[in-house]
């Protein structure tokens, strides 16, 4: 998929969708293709610029507490709002106890001027609302403590 441009991707997906739905209206296909293209461009362009600068910035978020509806949803919504890219999630529920570790690349957020401190504050606010415990820390500390 990486070899497709977003235009080609939009066209391919639009064609596949139209075929499944039995639609052959070329104008509709074109609209869908353009919509997909735009969405992908918005989502991927800042990431390319961050990758180009070679400045990945990773944080680790841990959430623990009693399992309630919406923990993952609310935390990931906040992360998305700050243009964080979730790279990995590990999650377990033991009994009614919930623990989750999320690895997030926040280089897009920082390249747009948002600070880790702002994201952290939002996450801690959510934690307080939901009665769970959230810790967010920069990966620099983990990499240096656990790698040689």
């Amino acid at each position: 998929m990486a070899s497709l441009s977003t235009e080609e991707l939009g066209q391919t997906v639009a064609d596949a969708v139209a075929q499944r739905l039995g639609q052959s209206d070329p104008e509709l296909r074109q609209m869908i293709a353009a919509e997909i293209d735009r969405t992908f461009k918005e989502a991927t362009v800042p990431k390319r610029s961050a990758a180009a600068s070679g400045d990945d910035e990773r944080i680790v978020i841990s959430a623990t507490g009693h399992n309630t509806v919406g923990i993952v949803a609310r935390l990931s919504a906040a992360i998305a709002e700050f243009s964080g890219d979730i790279q990995d999630i590990s999650q377990t529920v033991v009994g009614d106890y919930f623990t989750m570790i999320i690895v997030v690349d926040i280089s897009d957020a920082t390249s747009q001027g948002t600070t880790f401190a702002q994201l952290k504050q939002r996450l801690l606010q959510i934690a307080e609302d939901m009665g769970i415990h959230v810790v967010a820390l920069h990966d620099d500390i983990l990499s240096s403590m656990h790698g040689i």
């Binding site: 070679g54 400045d55 990945d56 990773r58 680790v60 841990s62 790279q87 990995d88 590990s90 570790i101 690895v103 880790f116 401190a117 952290k120 810790v135 967010a136 820390l137 920069h138 990966d139 620099d140 500390i141 983990l142 990499s143 240096s144 403590m145 656990h146 790698g147 040689i148």
Partner: protein
Amino acid sequence: MVRSAFHTSPDEVQETLRMIEVEHLDIRTTTLSLSLLDIAGADAGVADRVYQRITEAGQNLVQVADEVGSDLGVPIINKRIAVTPISLIVGQGNPQRFIEVANALQRAAEDIGVDYVAGFSALVQKGFSAGDRAMIEVIPEALGKNSRLCGSVNVASTKSGINMDAVGQMGRTIKDLAQVTADEGGIGCARFVVFANAVEDNPFVAGAFHGVGEAQACLNVGISGPGVVCSALERLREKPPPGGLNFGNMAEVIKRMAFKVTRAGEVIGRVVAARLGERVEFGVVDLSLAPTPAEGDSVAKILQAMGLERAGAHGSTAALLLLTDAVKKGGIMASSYVGGLSGAFIPVSEDAHMVEAVRVGALSIEKLEAMTSICSVGLDMVAIPGDTSAETIAAIIADEMAIGVMNGKTTAARLIPIPGYGPGDVYSYGGLLGDAIVMPVNQFSADNFMRMGGRIPAPLHSMRN
């Protein structure tokens, strides 16, 4: 910087979180160490120049350290300033100027929001200069009324021997300082250290100062972490390795923990130094395990986790050897720039389990002295009866200096003769200084020995038995 792929396992993430949240892993201090040599003088403007130097260089220290602590998730407890020994900065041996500089240091500390500024210090291991004499003369007044000011005097070194005139004077200085701050349990003495072989890059107060061989400005970091080491040893005891528990695998566990704690210190130090601007260099990580009165954050408890009933029991010196050495080995591997005091601290009042050991009679001042022969840093935060004579205090210091001089290591004495208090009494300072329990001292006199003047010559360095 291009980072590699994320390689920390969920177990390692959880271990880190446990270290921070449960086991009190923190950075004890980030100390901005500043040279004042270029602004020295005998004129009336020297105090203002000192004030300006500190407030300009250190204005962002607290904010930057707090931000870095928050970003990296490891709290930085103290932010401090160390300066060139003030005895070198004020010319013409004018005591009044020294008082003005002391007040300026206090004002600067208050204005930039650091809890201590250290370096009201003199180096007199071989003799007194005019500046040394004038500064030492005003120590009780300067430290007594400036609550954020810390001072130290180096009275001995392996290469120079022990300046016994200075040691004798320190006995009187400590008595006077306790008297000046008698309302607060002689708290002034908690901010004053007497050293042998003082180091130039120690980030820990009260003994910090900026050595003459240091750069213009650097940032030194003091790690903490007794709680982390203690928990790891307790887990090892609960779940011994297949071959059974032995000293080798105990040392291994301590080394691993020291490595991680030191790495945390190094990365934090580098980030803080970088954010303070290009004129501030990263200096060293001081590997000392520094306890706090918080439950579990105790070096004495580590000795208990090793199998001693209480710190001070026979075997404590051997246990401390294993601990101190393993901490150094793990830490050295983790950072290329290790310095400062780097050992295990055993400040009595600041370690709840040390206080308890004294209370139940397990730990005496004599045993503490023996323990200081193999770990940094000396008789630290030891409360003694308020009526102890200046000669006896000086004799306690002389013994401690002898250990440092003969063994080529730093030793120190931070003694508090609490006015009006006797053996077993407890004075609660609160905060990091904790609860001081008064330890009895030997009642036999050393007066005739201490009243002789002069120096004890430097020791021989061969035939070391």
